[in-house]
Every structure is written in structure tokens, then in C-alpha cells.
């Protein structure tokens, strides 16, 4: 008893054409991984997806997601994708189109308990949301997601890749940040 949360690595995108961020050689000495993200694309789009893979496993059918989403229009909806092209597209990042805005980022957080275990497959908590285009009440848009995601593997997670699936939807430099925390258990 007595130990706490540690930053494993924090990465802020600095380049103008970055499409992917990786955490490699993740230590196996923690109990829980927590990935906290500030997300934004520099593309002229309303919104872009964001894909997640573990240990270099790019077989999309091995990834699953289920989340409930509230959207700015007021509707409450649910999304579940099992083994299709969007199975590992878990979060979104806003772009430059809404209101031509320069502010407004998405928040993302993934908590992965027992990531170093090799007995059970991996399940994790998924939370995300954004507030964009605050130029007027009429233009205001928001989105909140909460749910879970899974990886169909019992392997210990030693690598996480976060990738924009569209070549033009680059991360916004000096804004997009990915920070990986480890929660200790001794």
C-alpha cells in the first residue's frame, strides 16, 4: 500500500502531417493503464474518427466497441460494432469546419484494467466528448460518449497505436496530446 499513479509517457504532436502516435515497450509492472487524450484534427472536416490497436494487431475484426452517445441535436443513441470496419474506431476528433473555429478539442479517456494479464481477453472503459463551435448558441455542438471496448486477445498489452484512418485527417500540432498513466498495485 502507498503507491500511486505514474506518467509512463506523454506525447504532444508537433509535426504538421502526423497521422499516428505510438506507445511502445509499455512496462508490465502496473495494474491498470489509463490513456488520457486531447484530440483535434487540422483537416477541414466536421469530425474525424480515431482508431486504436494493441501490440501491432491490425486485424480490425479483433476489436469491439459499445457506447451510448449523446449528440448536440439532443438524440440519445447507441453504437455497437462487432468485427466490422469500425470495430476499433473508438473516439472522434473535431476538425476546422464547424464555424471555422480555432478552438475546441475532444477529450478522450480509456482505462484498461489488468492489461498485463495473459488469462482473460482485454476489456476497457471508453469515455469521450467534445464541445465545438461556440460562436453562437445555434451553432454550438457537443457530443458525449461512454461505454466499453474490447480486444479479442489474452496477450499482455505492450504497445498502443492511435491512428487517424484517413490520410488527410492529420493531428493538429501543438494541441493533440496523448498521455499514458500506470496505476500501481503494490
Amino acid at each position: 500500500m502507498g503507491k500511486t499513479i505514474e506518467i509512463i509517457q506523454s506525447q504532444t504532436v508537433t509535426g504538421a502531417s502526423v497521422l499516428s502516435v505510438s506507445f511502445t515497450s509499455i512496462p508490465q509492472t502496473y495494474n491498470v493503464l489509463e490513456l488520457v487524450m486531447t484530440l483535434r484534427t487540422n483537416a477541414s472536416v466536421n469530425m474525424a474518427g480515431l482508431n486504436f490497436t494493441f501490440n501491432g494487431d491490425n486485424t480490425v475484426s479483433n476489436y469491439f466497441r459499445y457506447f451510448t452517445e449523446t449528440y448536440y441535436a439532443g438524440a440519445l443513441s447507441q453504437y455497437t460494432y462487432t468485427g466490422n470496419a469500425s470495430g476499433n474506431q473508438w473516439l472522434q476528433m473535431p476538425g476546422n469546419t464547424p464555424g471555422g473555429q480555432t478552438a475546441g478539442n475532444a477529450f478522450g479517456r480509456i482505462i484498461i484494467p489488468n492489461y498485463s494479464q495473459t488469462t482473460l481477453k482485454k476489456s476497457m472503459k471508453l469515455t469521450g466528448g467534445y464541445l465545438i463551435d461556440t460562436s453562437s448558441v445555434a451553432n454550438f455542438r457537443s457530443n458525449q460518449r461512454f461505454g466499453s471496448a474490447s480486444w479479442n486477445s489474452t496477450a499482455a498489452i505492450n504497445r498502443i497505436d492511435i491512428t487517424s484512418p484517413t490520410a488527410t485527417d492529420v493531428f493538429k500540432a501543438n494541441t493533440t496530446n496523448f498521455t499514458l498513466f500506470g496505476w500501481q498495485d503494490s
Binding site: 500500500m1 503507491k3 500511486t4 491498470v32 469491439f64 451510448t68 482505462i111 484494467p113 476489456s123 466499453s148
Partner: protein, 182 residues
């Protein structure tokens, strides 16, 4: 002492466990936090999770009261919610569908647990993304649970018992207890 400390964890190692107990919980934190991944034994179809806080005088005889809003995907695909008013529990944790191999994510926060003489409030989220076939996916393939609670026994909470009814836990299920604040 730090603001977020590991207290204890339990990993299921045998095939006949359905109760996990954290006892002698330190009274030096503000909140408690449970986190883990849970899977039922393969072939079990059903069962629910109930959490019994104990203040040392009332035992684990009865579960406190709670209200749950559940979001899930029933066969119709529509959004549904439900309330549990008799027990502080979340049902349908990973493995409700027979042969489900994907565990559920589980977290539970218990605020001001060490406060004497007052009812304790809690909050949880359980999420389950099915790894089974697409036909099973449509039946409770996942859900999330948010819950508030006014207990039948006041704090301080000194023990927590997690009981899984009508089923056993799969080997590898692991739940950890953390203390928040001090």
C-alpha cells in the same frame, strides 16, 4: 500518503469462486474505488453482481438499496433503461450470453465511506462489448450501469463483499481496491 493508493486486489484462480471480499479496509481515505475485469465461467448464462458494504455491525445479511439506469441493446435495437430498487447491484456482467469470452469492464466509486453515521453514496459503470457472434451481439451485447445508492446501514464501511449470484467467476477475473484522498 498519496491521493490515489492501491489497497488490495483479488484474482480468481479456481473454478468455484463467486464471492470476493475486501475486509479491514483502512479508514484513512475519503473515497474507495474498485476497478477490474470480470468474466463468468464459460457456459454460465445469467447471474448478477451485488455489492454488500459492511460497517462491522450489520454484517452482509442484506444488500442496501439502489437505483440503476441501464443502457443496453435488446433484440429490437432500441434504447432501454431499468431501475433496480431492491439491491445495489448490476446484472448481466460479462458472460451473460453463453460462451461469451469477453470480460466486462467494472468500476465502482464509494464516496465518504469512512464517515460515521451517514448513508454512503456510490457510483459505478459496467461496460461490456461482446466478442461473440453477431446474433448474440444483439442480445445484451453490452451495457453500462450508473448507480446511486442510499444505504440501509450507515458508514463507516469497513468491508465490501462482491457476490455473484447463480454463477461462478472465470479464472483470471481480477478486481482491485484503491483509496482516494486522505
Amino acid at each position: 500518503m498519496g491521493a490515489f493508493d492501491f489497497i488490495a486486489s483479488h484474482t480468481v484462480t479456481g473454478g468455484s469462486e463467486n464471492v470476493i471480499t475486501f475486509s479491514s479496509i483502512p479508514q484513512t481515505y475519503k473515497d474507495l474505488y474498485l476497478v477490474g475485469s470480470i468474466l463468468l465461467n464459460p457456459g454460465n448464462t445469467g447471474g448478477s453482481l451485488e455489492i454488500f458494504p459492511d460497517n462491522g455491525s450489520g454484517g452482509f445479511a442484506s444488500a442496501p438499496y439502489g437505483a440503476t439506469t441501464r443502457f443496453y441493446i435488446p433484440p429490437s435495437g432500441a434504447l432501454s433503461t431499468s431501475n433496480f430498487t431492491a439491491n445495489w447491484k448490476s446484472d448481466s456482467v460479462g458472460g451473460l450470453v453463453s460462451s461469451e469470452t469477453g470480460p466486462c469492464y467494472f468500476e465502482w466509486t464509494l464516496q465518504n465511506y469512512a464517515t460515521s453515521g451517514t448513508f454512503i453514496a456510490g457510483f459505478n459503470q459496467v461496460g461490456w462489448s461482446s466478442m461473440t457472434s453477431t446474433s448474440q451481439e444483439q442480445y445484451l451485447g453490452a451495457h453500462s450501469v450508473f448507480e446511486s445508492y442510499s444505504g440501509s446501514a450507515p458508514g463507516p464501511i469497513t468491508s465490501l463483499k462482491l457476490a455473484f449470484t447463480a454463477t461462478y467467476l472465470a479464472v483470471g477475473t481480477k478486481i482491485s481496491l484503491y483509496g482516494i484522498g486522505s
